[in-house]
Assembly symmetry: D3
């Protein structure tokens, strides 16, 4: 594997990937056209890489009462609050692509309040953004607002865990200066 | 398994655990004297439970240039900023126990600046707390401060990923009103 | 009087206490088992010590429509917002003791929203915490919320003055690095 | 005593003042030309009135390494951060009067950074304002900055206690909507 | 033109004013008794001076559903949030003068919530202050609150543009340390 | 002129434009391929439109020690802090175009700290962002940092006035829900 640009400000890249990781990266290239730099960053330790991808894949690609687009909306709205360059770039691209609506993707990356969202999705992002900004102030009333918008407890779990996950990822990217693949910028414009 | 008190405000508990999960919970009871409620909360979906425990166990119990006590210090300092009742209770207990210094555990739960920490650990928590409060403002100078305090890039990764993980966990606990096991309160006082 | 550990980062301790102060400190030892370090800190100047104790004793021990436990709840909730190590330690112990409910004491020290409080006490702490965080934004609606929860104007005065007092004490403790007596940590666990 | 305008939004005024309080209020009228409304507010309870005036008089009028003008500068700078209408009005007037420099008084009421202060007073207000805004972040370095500016530990105590006191008073005034005497507005312009 | 005191911390004053600017300044002296230092500051470049005065004069003196006093109330309330020494001084004077109510002027300069405003003006300042503090959180509900208070869309434009203008002016004054004319301090007390 | 989509949430569009405005809009269409919606929004009042365009054109297109690209960098960095959908869209496009570096434009729109800027431009944006976030805390040291980075007082004026202008524009756009032209999204990707 040759990585033309360093994926992070830390010096931890592996010279030799295991066969399993190599195969996983090949699959990424085939399906996405690239190996996301976050995976390159985690690849120095296969246990960490696998823990990250297991959680990520279940959260963003697994069964859920939320559509994949809705999960990307949460990813992008949270990353906007945290001004995360990596996640806004990578998940902004994913949201433009999945939604088929590049303008919507930009709006949520800039300020989700500017998007003309249906009440259900607006409630979902209000919850995700409050959880991001003031986790200490979450209350039953916040969960109730989601129930009132039509989400059941299973869906609330997924809204909560997706928003929480990107509060982790945003910070990880900021802490180690993770750099997104350049290809994302032009995708699905 | 009987859970006397509901673990979260959400209604997602499984009636039937798989053999594997049952065995894992038995091991928790044997080693810790309890099944942490966070695991009970995740048990409604075994994929999510496993992804969570894989990441958690690698992070907090796996090989690292950071001691286990230092990782708990990060967990508690981050949870203090976020005022997370679950994590301050559970990881406060762990920190009192691991450090053998209940007063230190309390100090970090209340305000890590009140603890008389060696410069290395102070730098570690300064980084973790800045990453928690203003992830958008992290810079090379913050990483350099860790290097100056004696941490190499591998250690910086672990400081970053531990602090980031608890920014996820704190929010998950807040979002679903996760309740810690009562036993933690009296532990290691 | 020998003080084994310095009470603050400032160098102001009196070598010789007056008879009156000595008697007061003896009474503290008898009733509390210790002389609170805040009193040791103020003892360098007997006028200041007396002004502080007069205000404190009236506020926390005098007649009031609030119970002593409720006043300690305010002390601890305010100190939690301000992350005050001294007051969380000393008044956390007092709240655990007075309420007879160590878990409740911990919850309020960590995040009062995690405690299952009756509406009256929840309204009381909402007011105290808003007053702590954004005093410039207090309005008649905030007082009305207390009246709606059953408090009369006399009780509002005491909620206001207790929350205000700890905004003073928290800052005094932070400014001079006041250290709580070690004994508090293990009390009423 | 007739109070033409209610002193606070609370309904707690005493109809009958004790001889001692009456005498104290007469002395205020003689020396200041008015009875400060804060005293009228506290007069419903003589113990509270006395505790407040004892602390206030020692702090603002007693012996101190700080001049009375410097103490008023702290009062006003803290009240500016907290946007306290009562204290900015009453102590703004006092600062204009004591300093003999109405413009300086206005500058500190609006933004102390706009005043051309000598380094000693600038350091004093930097400490007071940081203590007001982020008490949890005070550190030895903040005390050292005061020592570097020429303050000894006794003076640091007074800077700390004055700033802390007005964080109490500002909140008390906000909580009960305390109204300053109209006369202050035109004083010492 | 002789300017006794430098108007800003920057060194950009023109030695020679054009006839047009000289005439404009003469008119200021005649009508206001002074040339506002903001104009002196901009005078180094006549294009900038004219762009500034054209916008300012239309906004503050032109036709509007808002009275001139209401526009000054917005100017002062916004400047209070931003702690702008220049604008609080100059527009505080204007508001005292135009309203004929020096106390009202002081209240809005200190904390507009302390003024007993009619609901219409209170709604107007609530909008202006939210726009100042959290522009990213403005929503249709905020415009609707203005409509409910009796403002039409034309009036909303003027509330919005006045509040926005002073968010520019406050920052310009802060950035270059613009100093108000001393005369303002004593005006209309 | 037909405007297919309403430019703002307010109902103020003119049915009939003057010849001068019509000519100006025709020129916009010729040079930019569109009439920026901000101009459509202001067109209900030609005095306001002209005041806005005069200030804007001098600031962004007039003579300056700053390049046009640098001025757009300030516009975008300020708009990122304020999460302004209109300005991030319109000036994001302008910055991508002028810089010839779409990735740089995205970085500054998301978090300018992620861009690898030369020290001069980094200092410029640090100043603009501090002025945006905490105008009350600007000091001589901030101006000195610009001088140390090679800017003279004339350049400091332009950095200050550009950053200040977009703090106005961002708020105006937020207050009236100004919608950018759709064409910007795809420009210069």
């Amino acid at each position: 594997m040759t990585i033309s640009e360093r994926a992070t400000a830390l010096n931890l890249q592996q010279t030799q990937l295991s066969q399993g990781t190599q195969a996983y990266f090949d699959k990424c290239r085939e399906k996405l056209g690239l190996v996301p730099n976050v995976l390159v960053a985690y690849a120095f330790d296969e246990t960490k890489l696998r823990a990250f991808t297991d959680m990520y894949n279940d959260l963003m690609l697994g069964d859920s009462p939320l559509t994949k687009t809705e999960r990307e909306m949460i990813a992008v709205a949270v990353s906007s609050v945290n001004h995360c360059y990596y996640c806004l770039t990578a998940h902004g691209a994913a949201l433009r692509q999945l939604s088929g609506d590049p303008k919507l993707g930009e709006q949520i990356a800039m300020n989700y309040r500017a998007a003309n969202l249906p009440p259900r999705q607006r409630a979902m992002l209000d919850f995700a953004v409050k959880l991001t900004e003031t986790p200490d102030k979450m209350e039953e009333a916040d969960r109730q607002a989601l129930r009132d918008a039509g989400f059941d407890d299973r869906a609330i779990w997924d809204i909560a865990s997706t928003a929480s996950f990107f509060n982790m990822s945003n910070r990880m990217a900021a802490a180690i200066d993770m750099r997104p693949n350049d290809e994302y910028h032009a995708m699905a414009r």
